[in-house]
Subunit: 239 residues, 2 copies
């Protein structure tokens, strides 16, 4: 399972960089030969063609892709790409760039986009916050976008087989063992609850918003996976 | 003290909205009559003119402004606005929009911009994270950009007169009294340290990155101010 990036312009190139740094597989669709040279020089997988054509998307593996990101410059083109993508694979998650123009978001959603983001809206909010709360914005940059720094803000799904499933926050021992703090819990069908108490019970399907050192978050992720695999093996042997 | 917004386009309008919601005073400089009608309809203070002209900036009160945000469309114009602003008031903080083009940031910084933000870079990173960590991005939106929701991520300067100055985190009683958690501390001259221990000492000049309910953060801010004012009064009486 991979991501499909439609357009390697100023936004698409940033997305590709983040995905590569995160070790997520992706393919870029681009029609501009000069841009394709840049993509090739970065050793990304690239597909030359029109992202709004069925056969291009099929070559990109749309039927087995995790998500498609439509980030060409024009709203109309992003609408067309979205319609084409959803036509071939109705289940694919589509994230579309909007120009921020009146009605653009509505049309992208009507075309099937699951999420619509205007770089101007995001950039404007960010600029305002950089003025009002410069340290919070620096914190966010360190915790989300800076790799291998002292801290990371991350999310973790509590799986049915996770060792913390059914335990209270204090019983899970995340603070003691990993020096990880759970700052919010997102439970399906409910809103996000923050600053959970020690006796909050963690349930399968919960997403924990955690803050901790990258190596400790990775260690916890690994432990959760190890336990998962072991239990699955046990179950197979019993049957 | 106020903010000066140069340009009420797609980014400038978002900045104005955030500043208004945050009850921060600002003036918008805009030269397009149609855009000026929009600004007037939102009841913002607007100044018609070229932001790159000395007399326009002087009319905007640049000598006593907190900061100037240069968000017109062209890099060259933002460079010129920055140069003009810094020429009149070398101390003003300038935040400039960059197109993201190669060399744009360098030139804006050379012109004197204190911070340079490309909406494409910010938007691209955000789009990638919306795919990789959708719940973390939702958490950020709730905690920073959504007013009057259940939680807020904020920063607080520990002043010399603040009641928490010189106390340890546990002595400050922020968790018990306000249900506020300090998730990071930014100390002048040092980096940001996260997840501080109970015996960390809070010093004047420290900036606390806090997470809590908006009403409780506001209550703490008020208490810090009340104590500050009282101590200043005491000092005056003694002299
Ligand atoms: Ca993760
Ligand atoms: Ca504040």
């Amino acid at each position: 399972n991979h991501y499909i990036i439609c357009g390697h312009g100023r936004i698409g190139s940033v997305i590709c960089q983040v995905l590569q740094e995160s070790n997520k597989p992706f393919v870029v669709i681009e029609k501009n030969p000069d841009e394709i040279q840049k993509i090739l020089s970065k050793e990304y997988v690239v597909l030359e063609g029109e992202a709004s054509q069925d056969d291009t998307l099929q070559k990109a593996g749309i039927e087995r892709a995790l998500a498609l990101i439509a980030v060409v410059s024009s709203d109309a083109d992003n609408v067309f790409i979205t319609l084409t993508a959803k036509g071939i694979n109705p289940k694919i998650v589509v994230l579309a760039r909007s120009s921020g123009a009146t009605g653009a978001e509505t049309k992208l959603r009507r075309a099937g986009a699951d999420k619509v983001i205007s770089p101007y809206f995001i950039g404007g909010r960010r600029m305002a916050q950089a003025m009002l709360r410069p340290n919070v914005t620096d914190f966010i940059d360190l915790a989300i976008y800076t790799r291998d720094m002292g801290l990371r803000l991350d999310e973790m799904l509590v799986t049915e087989n996770a060792f913390i499933n059914g335990k209270t926050l204090i019983e899970s021992n995340l603070r003691q063992k990993y020096n990880i703090i759970v700052i919010a819990i997102k439970r399906t069908g409910e809103g996000m609850s923050f600053n959970p108490t020690s006796d909050s019970i963690l349930l399968a399907g919960d997403v924990l918003i955690v803050l901790g050192r990258p190596d400790q978050i990775s260690a916890l992720e690994k432990e959760m996976k190890i336990v998962s695999c072991e239990k699955l093996t046990d179950r197979v042997e019993i049957e």
